[in-house]
Amino acid sequence: MDSALIPVGVKRCSFPKFMLLLGAAGAVLAWGVFAMLLIWIKGLNQTNMNDYYGFAIWIWADLAVIAIGGGAFFSGFLKYIVGKDELKNIINYAVLLGFICYSSALLILAIDIGQPLRGWFIFWHANVHSMLTEVAFCLTCYFIVLTIEYLPLVLENRKLDKIPFFHNLTHNMHETMAVFAATGAFLSFFHQGSLGGVAGVLFGRPFAFREGVLIWPWTFFLFTWSAAAFGPCFTILATKILEKVTGKTLVKFNVIDLLARISGWMMLTYMIAKIADTAYWAFVLAPSKGFDVGFFYTNNEFYGWWILILELVICGIVPALILVTKKGRASKTALTTAVVLAVIGVCLNRWVMVLQVMAVPVMSFDTWATYCPSWQEVATTILPVAYAVILIAISYRYLPIFPQEAELNPIAPEEALADEQESTEETADVAGAEPAAQT
């Protein structure tokens, strides 16, 4: 039915099967949209946020998707600025994931502000002393960059590419992509950092507060570093999931190996810095504010020492050590385990820096504050997942996301012949329909 739109030389599932997948994801999406409309129409009383939790599950989700979406800017930086050309075979997918993550982040923010019609106030009446203003600026600009990076991929669709204007535009955008990639890396450095800076400057909350350089607390640099380190792990994980779903190898091992190796070393260096930061905070900074570090991990029902060990050791040091060793990367199970742990680790770090910060009592008469999201908050947090499934499914089906796919999954000669025949017929149709373009 839609075979004319499918890239040449690759095989896709039947159209009804594809629609079934879209239908299933669409149902979840509809649930999320219903909750979103409830929040927009009835207001933030639909959530369980309160005076303790002005930042809640949405802000965690926001920070988490931005961190794992960091694979886009770091892969772009490695390919276009550092010159790691092998990454051209995975950069399209990294851009798609980045586009999904950042559009989801903006959607979550649009829900979180309660009155989206006033969303433009942050630009028009900017508070230039707020790190969140800088985050809003950089997020928006970087989303524009990601759209620009995603656009050529859309225009490379088999049908669209036949239109000379689109073909030329794709070509010209590819030529200037290094400029956009550099701008994206610049913007990402600042907004990833400022998201960490927001926690680090909270001098009234000793669990989050950190010292630093000039106006930037150490959390600023740790957030940027962690996004660059852990983001590519999500790109690898998403590739592995898609390979599992499609039953195909989509990217050659050397590409995954390179990205995993760089990510591994970034993670290892990040973990050293993170542990040093945690140790200084635990033994110097927190005591200087009158707190024993044990206070932050005891006397409550949920946040124990386990969360610190899980974040730093099991989901930090362990995946980093796996990824820096050749043996670890060569083993499919070890590699998959490492990227899963890494993604959990960075999401957990954002959880700690958003929700545990809110939970810790700061006044002598306070107790640990608990929070459980409402179903509307859960539904709107799951919404981006359904949106991601739909966009990945459509993009994978109709766009040449993986340049190595045809080579790695050769189709039967008779199918290739039929495909070529169809393509020739279509070209003839276009030639007949657009004689002016031929002259």
Binding site: C138, P164, N168, T183, T427
Partner: protein, 55 residues
């Protein structure tokens, strides 16, 4: 966002923040502008009309 907004002040904070924003938007706008103008020019010259699908 603009000097004509009532809360605008000519201080270092506004210059750094807004300068950064307009600098980034300027690069993005110039880059896309260049691509679109060059594409119009290329298309007018007939480029891309006979390209191979397997490029």
């Amino acid at each position: 966002m603009f000097p004509f907004n009532f809360e605008w002040i000519w201080d270092i904070s506004h210059l750094v923040f807004m300068g950064g924003l307009w600098y980034a938007l300027g690069i993005i706008g110039t880059g896309m502008g260049y691509c679109i103008i060059k594409t119009i020019s290329d298309t007018a010259q007939g480029k891309g009309a006979h390209h191979d699908e397997h490029h």
